[in-house]
Structures are given as structure tokens and as C-alpha cells.
Symmetry: C2
Subunit: 421 residues, 2 copies
């Protein structure tokens, strides 16, 4: 009897290390002699029966995935609704899996993906199709519950802390006759995990960033301006880190752009320049602002070693769980010690994870609301520890990221028009 | 008879490797047993007699400068006018140098600094003060003439090419259901050197960046939109690199902010989001944009090894030239071979450098005006070659950048109020 094949799909915003998870999945399947497919552009490809057959991929290309940012097989922002509302999609998905003898489905994403994974578990049971579904954690937002951290977050945290440190050295050099206030906008729509990690750049009083604007703390213009002014008067300059999710006292995003993505999330951007201009107009300081945007979540060249290792480990564990007959679970990271940093993986039920957002603990934000606490530092610091530089080409000077075009498996089902359902 | 001391000053925008030059200067002076001072915040500190006495600095701190971004002693944007208009400043400067027995002055900057160095040479001769003045090249703008490249440029070029490559892998993953056009704004007020270097990210047809908007090519909205649309239709997505100095057909900056710096240069910023919004409004594509701003010029963590080596070499050569009795010159880089890449230093007269801007050669931009040519690639590629990662702290996960507070030398002259002259 066939042991069946495994399908791996990436979901939502990609990270610097999601391909390390993919690498682990493929390598584990090969060791276990299980056929492995990857959905093209996530669940969309699974529904369309666009499945990359990874059997023919050479080992070197697979190994290169470990240090390649982005999503090698494509990801998507497409959320399946309830089993009732999207019944046709769920049934189609099972039909595709059945057609390719896929008995293991690994869905690599965040909260939404955990929810989808859970529903796929349910529909498979309802339809009597034997399928082991494993959620695999990934999100730079670090907002999955249960797990200590989310693969992808440690690397964006390291990028952010290093960038704040470096840019602040620049500002410190120039402040007497040029820029006095530097504003850097970071990702984090609903929670200030990345903004808080920026606080790792400095440790002692007056080290940058001197001001962090968290989504968790309603923006108080007067208090902010007073803090910036006092910092410039004392230090000579000031670095401000602002989360894209900064809200005013009414709970509205400061930088509401008015457009929404496929999940109904508001597309943000522009609060960095907004804050910089406020400083200029109210305090008269010369400013510069930066919005690294995708650079922060794709910066594999400055990935955290701990993060890359965890991303690999969850992929490997997911395959092991699936082959051991588990379903409806996710490998999560449990921190067993902060000093020294120790962690292990455990299987957590998707029911505890789906649609639950882990908020930044209130005790991570200091009393004035503009900085992080020692508790936050104890949590974040191990996550950015260690470097894991990709190999570089000695001629081009560029990282040698994986470049390959896997082949799509031959389709066995009639075409499926997503938009018609 | 005393051999005299040496004064080193940093000028203008700092870079990821200007401190490597400082490191070389200090180490060379120590080897030659010459006293070495650094002006606090550039020429401003020299005029105020704020001179850091580097005699007491420990060797480890000096060595750490080699891998520390920003300007360790402070820089400034302050341009001395003509000898006639600013005579009092020039005479004060000579008085300060005389008071501290400074016979060698090294000014580390760009075009403006080369001009100032030249004038200081002239005033010293006019006043009969024996002084050897050496200009030391530095600018991320890469616009100094005579020299093959400018220390600081190779590292911003490497940062830019790597960032474009990484962010484009992210966009490629997401394009089906999310971002289709990614716009990254880069520095380069008057010349497209950094924008052109972004072109190194891709080599083959349709590799990113598919569109580069150079300051040298007047913005043609229709041609730009047609190129973006064709790229998205063929590739699925498109990465656009836009120089902050992009101008319209009338020669006006697209992102004129209306404010000017101390040199009368217009302060720019915001052309990235402007181009992104244009794409959205005219073509309807979902976009993201990034403005790395200071991150690009301070990113020591991804410095080019060639650049770091050249930055160190010009500092060492500057001391050697000064002690050999040369004055009114700058060590410049001469490329003797591109394949394999070979270079050496030569002394060039400041008269050939002051106030001359080296433009991006027209044959570096391809015929459609949106990309670079093989000639450009041959020039740029060696400049981003090699990595030179800083050491990292194993606990904090951050680069171990130099942290020290050198002592100011005791003042010997009455205070000098800059603003009164």
C-alpha cells in the first residue's frame, strides 16, 4: 500500500527564513522516502491543481533554499471562508489531494493559515479522506499564540535593531549642522513586536532608539513632542521608531490609506514621513525618515541564526508529526530557559492557535510608553542572536540565492475556475 | 625640532566606511610617531578649537573604527566660502593649527571638502604657515572626478543591489494575489550612481530591477507606465528603483520638498511613494514602496570588502603623502584592470577635483533609459565584491561597533563665535 505523498504550501506574507522551513520539509521527506509536492502560490495553486513536483530537484538547489529569502514556490493572500460558505473550495481541495495521493498537508503561515488548516482537517474527516494536516508557524508579526516566537520574526527583529543602530550612528555624526531627528517606520499592523525589537539597538540611557511609538499606546502628540524635544536638547539628536499600526486616541490608524487587502486588512504606510513632518512643523528640527518596508522581512543577509534554526526545525518536525500520524497540530517553540537560551519543539493543537492573536505584553512597554522594559529585552535578545550569512558569489558580490524552476505535476482533474465558486 | 602634529576632520554626509579611513589615519600616525587630533564635528570643531586628542585612545578602540559606520568624531555640513568672504574663518583656522603645532591637515570629504582643502592650502601659504593639506576622498554619491570610485560608494552599492534582490524575491512570491509593483527610492541627488548600481541585482532579461529611473533621464510618464505594464504582464510583477534626484522634462525634481540645506541643496524625499501612487492610479496595480534613506549609507553590516579596503588605503596614503611633504593633493584610486580587478593609489592635485562633479557616463544607461549596460556592469561589479562583516556580540546579537568618548585637547586660544564673523 502506498504511504502517500506530502503537499507543502506557503501562505501570507513571506519572510527571510520561510524557505528554510521548505528546505527542511523537502529534505525530511526525501530521507523518509515520501513524495513531496509544493503548491504554486499557496492554497491558490492547491485549488487549481498547480503542484510543483519536487522529485526532480537537485540536492544543491534544495539546500540553497535554506538561505534564500522570499517564498520559493509562491505564497498568496487568499483566505478560505467557513466550511459552509466555501464548501466547493474545500471539496475541490480534497479532490486535488486525493488525485495526487496526498495524505499529508503542511500549511506554512500565520493565524489565518492555522484556521484554514483546522478547517481542512475537519472537511477531510467529514469526507472520510485520510489526511494528516500540520500547521507550520511563520510570521514576521510574531503574533501566533502558544509558540514562544514565530519563525521569521527573529530575523526582522535583527534587521531592525541593526538598522536602527547603524542609522543612529550616522545621525549622531551629523546632528550639529544637519539631521536632528531620524524616524524609521517598521511593520506590525496590530501589535508592536517589531517596534519593540528595535529597542534592542540601545541598552543604556539615551542610546537609540530614544522613542518608540507602539500600536498599543494611543499616540499622544504633546507627550511625543516633549520627549523628542527633551532628547534633542540633552543628546543632540533623537531616533524615533514608529510602528505602521500607530493609532490615535480614537483607535484610528494615523496613516489610514483607505485601501484594504484580500482579508479586509487596511493597507498601511506613510506614518513614518507623517511623524517626521510633525516634528519639523512643531519643533523645527531637520529630519530624515526611512521606510524599509519589504527590505525588513526579506533581509536574509542579516538573518538571525536562532531564527533560521527554528524555521528549519519546525519544518522538520512538521514532517515527523505528519508521518507519525498526527493531525490538526502545529510544531511550536517552547522556551525552557532564557539564560542560557534553550528551546524545544512541541505539538500544539490548531484549535488553540487559529484566529488567536498574541499581543505584545503590557509589561514589555515602559512606564512613559516610549521604550521597552528589561522583561522585553530578556524575551527578545535571544531571538536575534547569532549570524547565518548566506554564501556570496565572489564575482558578482551578491548572495547566492536559490534559482530554480520546479516542474508542475501533470494535472489529473478538470480545470477549476476559482472566481466562479 | 618638533615634527608637528596631524589633524584629521570628517566632512559632509558620512558613510559605512569613513571610519575605516579614520582608523588608517590614526594607525599610520602612531606608527610614524606623529601626534594625531580629530576635529569634533568636522571643520566646525577645528574653528572652535574643539580637537579630540587621540593620544590616549586604546588600540582596540582604534581598530574597532575600521568596522564602525557613521563618523566617529562627528561631521558637518558647513562650507567655507571664498578666501575673501570668509577670511576671518580661514585665519582662525590657521591660528588653531598653529596653537596645536599642527603641520598636517587631512580633510575627509567630497567635492566641497576638496575645495575647502585647496583654499586652506592657499591661505597657509599666504600666511607663511608651513602646512601640508591632503584631501581624502569619501562620498556615497561617487561623484568625485579623477578617482575610479569614492570610498563609501561601494558599500551603498552593495547594500542597494542586495536589498533589491531580496525584496524582489519577496514580491515574486506574493505577486499573484498581492503586491505587483515594488518601488525603492535610493539616494543620489544629481547623479544616478546608486540607482545604476541597483542594476547589479539582476543580470538576465526580466530579472529585477526591471525599471530604473535615473536623474540623468527626464521622467517620461507614458514610457514609464508602458514599461511597468509590459513587465507586469510578462513577468507577473515589477521592481522599480527610483533615484531621489529624478527630474521632469523641465529639469525640476519630481519630489521637490521646498527646503534647502546649508549648501543650498534642495532637501529631497518622497519620490518613491509618489511613483508608487502613480502606478496605482494609472495602472491599478497593488504596490509597496521602500525608502531606506540613511540605512543605505550606514549599513556597515553589508559593506563591500573592496570598499572597506579602499577606504582604509586612502587614509593610510594620506598620512604618507603628508609626511612626505606633499600638499594640495588627494589620494585617488586608479583602476588598472577590471578583470581581474586591480587598483592602486595615486596623488591627484586638488585643483583637478575641487567643485568638479563626475556624472554617470551616458553609455552606462541602456537605450530605453530604464536599465544599465554591460559597460556599467563592468565598472560597478568589482566595487561590491567581497564581504567584510563586523564582529558581532554573541549575547546581544548586534555588531560590536566602536564606542568611545575621546578627550578634547585643552584650548589655547580665546573662544571663537562662528556666527559673529
Amino acid at each position: 500500500m502506498s504511504r502517500g505523498n506530502l503537499l507543502y504550501a506557503q501562505s501570507g506574507g513571506v519572510t527571510a527564513v520561510i524557505n528554510a522551513t521548505a528546505c527542511a520539509v523537502i529534505q525530511a521527506c526525501r530521507r523518509k522516502k515520501i513524495g513531496v509536492f509544493a503548491a504554486r502560490n499557496g492554497i491558490l495553486g492547491a485549488l487549481r491543481e498547480e503542484l510543483f513536483d519536487l522529485a526532480g530537484l537537485d540536492a544543491a538547489s534544495i539546500a540553497a533554499l535554506r538561505h534564500t529569502p522570499g517564498g520559493a514556490f509562491g505564497s498568496c493572500r487568499f483566505k478560505l471562508k467557513s466550511l459552509e460558505a466555501d464548501r466547493a473550495h474545500y471539496e475541490r481541495l480534497i479532490a486535488v489531494l486525493r488525485a495526487h495521493d496526498i495524505r499529508y498537508f503542511l500549511y506554512n503561515g500565520g493565524n489565518d493559515s492555522a484556521d484554514t488548516s483546522l478547517k481542512i482537517t475537519q472537511i477531510a474527516q467529514a469526507l472520510g479522506y485520510p489526511l494528516n494536516v500540520i500547521g507550520v508557524p511563520k510570521t514576521v508579526d510574531n503574533d501566533l499564540p502558544v509558540t514562544d516566537s514565530c519563525p521569521g520574526f527573529g530575523s526582522v527583529a535583527k534587521y531592525t535593531a541593526v538598522s536602527v543602530l547603524e542609522a543612529s550612528l550616522d545621525v549622531a555624526s551629523m546632528h550639529e549642522s544637519s539631521t536632528k531627528v531620524f524616524v524609521m517606520e517598521v511593520m506590525g499592523r496590530h501589535a508592536g513586536w517589531i517596534a519593540a525589537a528595535a529597542g534592542l539597538a540601545g541598552k543604556r540611557a539615551d542610546e537609540p532608539p530614544q522613542v518608540i511609538l507602539f500600536p498599543e499606546v494611543p499616540f499622544d502628540e504633546a507627550a511625543f513632542l516633549a520627549k523628542v524635544r527633551a532628547t534633542v536638547e540633552r543628546v543632540g539628536w533623537c531616533t524615533v521608531v514608529v510602528s505602521e499600526g500607530l493609532k490615535n486616541a480614537d483607535g484610528k490608524f494615523l496613516a489610514e490609506a483607505g485601501t484594504t487587502d484580500a482579508f479586509g486588512h487596511t493597507q498601511l504606510g506613510g506614518v513614518g514621513p507623517m511623524i517626521a513632518q510633525l516634528v519639523k512643523s512643531k519643533l523645527g528640527y531637520k529630519y530624515h525618515w526611512a521606510v524599509p518596508d519589504y527590505l525588513q522581512r526579506s533581509a536574509r543577509h542579516i538573518a538571525s541564526k536562532v531564527d533560521a534554526e527554528q524555521a528549519y526545525a519546525v519544518g522538520k518536525a512538521a514532517v515527523e508529526y505528519a508521518l507519525a500520524g498526527r493531525s490538526g497540530v502545529m510544531p511550536v517553540i517552547r522556551r525552557t530557559s532564557s539564560t542560557p537560551f534553550k528551546w524545544k519543539l512541541e505539538a500544539a493543537p490548531l484549535t488553540a492557535i487559529a484566529n488567536v492573536e498574541k499581543k505584545l505584553p503590557r509589561n514589555f512597554i515602559n512606564t512613559d510608553g516610549f521604550g521597552i522594559t528589561p522583561a522585553a529585552r530578556r524575551y527578545f535578545e535571544p531571538l536575534i542572536r547569532g549570524e547565518d550569512a548566506p554564501p556570496y558569489d565572489q564575482i558578482s558580490g551578491l548572495p547566492m540565492y536559490a534559482k530554480f524552476k520546479p516542474k508542475l505535476a501533470k494535472k489529473k482533474l478538470p480545470a477549476y475556475a476559482l472566481a466562479d465558486k
